[in-house]
């Protein structure tokens, strides 16, 4: 046997790989790699002040009107899952991004990429679902586009939606506005969507009644902004989950955060599935929840307003913004120790939206 003292100098791993010569799944995963792609490729190429704010949507002034504009593409696999489908998800996702800008939706565009051979009945289901979801948020589909690709060159159906909305008067929300002392709220249990989609995917024999949380957050946001127009930040924790959303806000606002693990609502089914699959629920996507950061004196009022509505009964205050350690999110664990939350690294669950 070789002895370790002989080996100490030769203990070895390979040189770093320039792994960015081709696109990898993690480039779309919502974590650090995607952030790098945006910072290194998109921002330098597009050089847009609006884009570089990296909000959930762009806010632009047209005449005297502040408009929010956003776009999102959906590749979820499978396209039908408990609690929703790619059609409703595409409308909710874009409507929620508008809501995160403090905007009421005006209308949507829908772009479809269909694979040759995709069942027409499934297409009908998706389209009906888009129609129902857009009626639910009170904004019509205003324009659209359809492309078909050869069999084997797509994956059934991809949907792109863009949306425009009107930013509410007197409201100014953004990821850069959090300040020390502010209160951090979450509108409901986290991780339902990611786990619901994973559970029905081929290759995982996980039996659960869990449904996706895919839903418009508009009613809750509307009630919140009516009562607490001084709300500073809204963010929906989609890919990358709650932890990544908090980290992004901490960086954008140059503040620290202190989060109580025991205050974060996670359904037992989600916790159980995460334990089995080795995921952390704080990194699993939601599609019908949001984070709200409000001034300290508004915290109680904001929470009360959210909890009055049926979608918000599980809303919780999960922590506060601090002036120490800017850009860092500190989690106080259930057992009283502390650890830092980092952005999602790599890709936890591929193609869930």
């Amino acid at each position: 046997m070789k002895r370790f003292d002989d080996l100490a100098a030769g203990l070895a791993c390979p040189l770093p790989i320039d792994d960015d010569v081709v696109v990898q799944m993690a480039h779309g995963g919502g974590g650090r790699k995607m952030a790098q792609l945006i910072e290194r490729v998109f921002l330098p190429a597009f050089r847009s002040d609006t884009l570089s704010q990296l909000g959930d949507g762009a806010v632009l002034t047209v005449g005297h009107e502040r408009l929010a504009f956003t776009t999102d593409t959906f590749v979820v696999q499978p396209p039908f899952f408990p609690g929703g489908d790619i059609g409703s998800l595409a409308v909710h996702g874009t409507a929620n991004d508008l809501a995160m800008c403090g905007a009421e939706p005006i209308g949507f565009s829908v772009g479809l990429v269909l694979e040759e051979g995709f069942p027409m009945t499934d297409l009908h289901r998706v389209v009906a679902s888009i129609a129902a979801a857009s009626a639910q948020v009170g904004a019509p589909v205003m324009t659209g586009d359809t492309k078909v690709v050869d069999r084997g060159k797509g994956d059934g159906i991809y949907v792109n939606t863009s949306g425009i909305g009107r930013v509410r008067d007197g409201v100014s929300v953004g990821p850069e506005r959090a300040a020390p002392g502010d209160v951090i709220l979450v509108s409901g249990p986290v991780g339902d969507h990611g786990i619901a989609v994973m559970a029905v995917r081929n290759g995982i024999a996980l039996q659960t009644e869990l449904r996706s949380d895919s839903a418009p957050v508009l009613p809750l946001v509307r009630a919140l902004l009516d009562a607490v127009p001084e709300t500073k930040t809204l963010r929906d924790p989609t890919r990358g989950g709650l932890a990544t959303a908090l980290c992004e806000i901490a960086v954008a606002s140059r503040v620290g955060m202190r989060i109580e693990e025991s205050a974060i609502p996670v359904r037992p089914e989600v916790r159980g599935a995460c334990e089995l699959l080795g995921f952390d629920p704080l990194y699993v996507a939601c599609e019908g929840r949001f984070l709200a950061i409000v001034p300290p004196q508004s915290g109680e009022r904001a929470l009360a307003v959210l909890r009055e509505l049926p979608e918000g009964t599980d809303a919780r205050r999960i922590g506060e913004v601090t002036g120490t350690d800017p850009g860092r999110v500190l989690l106080r664990t259930r057992i009283g120790s502390h650890r830092r939350l980092e952005r999602l690294s790599g890709e936890q669950l591929p193609r869930i939206c």
């Binding site: 791993c13 993690a26 650090r32």
Partner: protein, 367 residues
């Protein structure tokens, strides 16, 4: 949640911490062997809660991390062959080989699939008879029975398009090697509970006796880990050195007899090279002669691949508990999960990944 919350109960944890503090009279250094234990310790911040003087160092128990470079290179070579479906647990996909990793191979067109069970790979082989399906059988004794079952079923069904690239490693010989190394600082071991669920813990008794150190079979939840620490410290303080089981709800002295029978049927013990630790005699499994037809190394003629491991990454020292990840000059700088120098930064059981993911970085390094 049942079977979980009771092992994460803050009150019980507080009580146990006070008991540990009460019996501690001097500093001790314990090694938790398994990477899953390391992650749990960092995730729950247990190291912060332990009384000062009690040091936990992290062991080699991350099978992904100790899989040598040439085995990754074999995986990459097989995945690149036409008509191959290469199946692996997700962890292995990001481990760098000499020229890329399996994720990159996938991005470049190889059919690389993440499976959650080796039996899923067998199912793929069954439904895609015209394709050659290879499963990357990595792991300690914990995953070996399921992987053995894959070979067993493939043999029974005559699935001649299925094979396994076996990189199995065994815990006791590695512990023996660590404890025999000069300058070893380990005074007590928290043995890997899941491994002992399969193998039992009789093999650890001669190690405890020979090296005169307590070995405590330990689970993975915060309370399990603290019970392991308490038992090890109690033995050390009393001057004892024996094998003790603190994971009784899962591990029995003789392990799982059915699983062990299957292991004896399908696998044979072999010498194995460990990344960062070199070749350790009788420290791995290979397929037994009766199952040689399912050995991907033979099927693809890759038996004699030898590669030199470059010297940049210090993960060998990390795997032996001789270097704390944050004390590595490359940690968080040249080496991140996006651009890893070595497997310990990307495996879900790797110590460097745990330190990175749970935000142990600049502050601690400066302290």
């Amino acid at each position: 949640m049942r079977h979980l919350d009771e092992y994460r109960d803050p009150e019980a944890i507080g009580t146990l911490l006070r008991r540990i503090e009460a019996i501690l009279t001097r500093p001790w250094t314990l090694m938790e062997v398994c990477g899953g234990q390391t992650h749990s310790i960092l995730k729950f911040g247990l190291d912060e809660l332990l009384p000062p003087g009690l040091r936990l160092i992290h062991g080699p128990g991350c099978p992904v991390c100790v899989t040598p470079l040439e085995q990754i290179d074999r995986a990459l070579a097989i995945a690149a062959e036409a008509g191959v479906i290469f199946c692996s647990f997700g962890d292995m996909l990001r481990v760098p080989g000499s020229s890329g990793d399996l994720l990159l191979a996938k991005a470049r067109g190889a059919d690389v699939r993440i499976v959650y069970s080796p039996l899923d790979a067998v199912a793929i082989a069954r439904s895609e008879r015209s394709r050659r399906v290879v499963f990357f059988a990595v792991g300690f004794e914990t995953t070996a029975p399921a992987n053995a079952m894959a070979a067993y079923i493939a043999a029974r069904e005559g699935l001649d398009n299925f094979s396994l690239l076996v990189a199995h490693v065994l815990v006791p010989p590695a512990l023996e090697a660590l404890l025999a190394a000069p300058g070893c600082e380990i005074q007590g071991l928290l043995a890997p509970g899941h491994v002992c669920v399969v193998t039992g813990y009789r093999d650890y008794e001669p190690i405890a006796a020979r090296h005169r150190i307590p070995i405590v079979v330990t689970g993975f939840e915060p309370l399990d880990l603290l019970r392991g620490v308490y038992a090890a410290v109690a033995q050390l303080e009393r001057g004892e050195a024996r094998v003790e089981n603190q994971y009784e709800r899962a591990a029995a002295p003789d392990g799982n007899p059915a699983a062990r029978r299957l292991l004896r049927e399908v696998f044979a013990v072999c010498d194995r090279k460990w990344r960062g630790m070199g070749e350790i005699p009788a420290s791995g499994y290979t397929l037994a002669p009766a199952y040689a037809a399912f050995d991907a190394t033979k099927v693809f003629g890759l038996g004699h691949l030898e590669v030199e491991e470059p010297k940049d990454c210090l993960s060998g020292l990390v795997l032996q508990g001789r270097l704390r990840p944050i004390h590595c000059p490359h940690f968080g700088g040249r080496c991140t999960p996006e651009h890893p120098l070595g497997a310990t930064m990307v495996s879900s059981e790797g110590a460097c990944a745990a330190y990175f993911h749970y935000g142990r970085g600049a502050a601690e390094a400066a302290a």
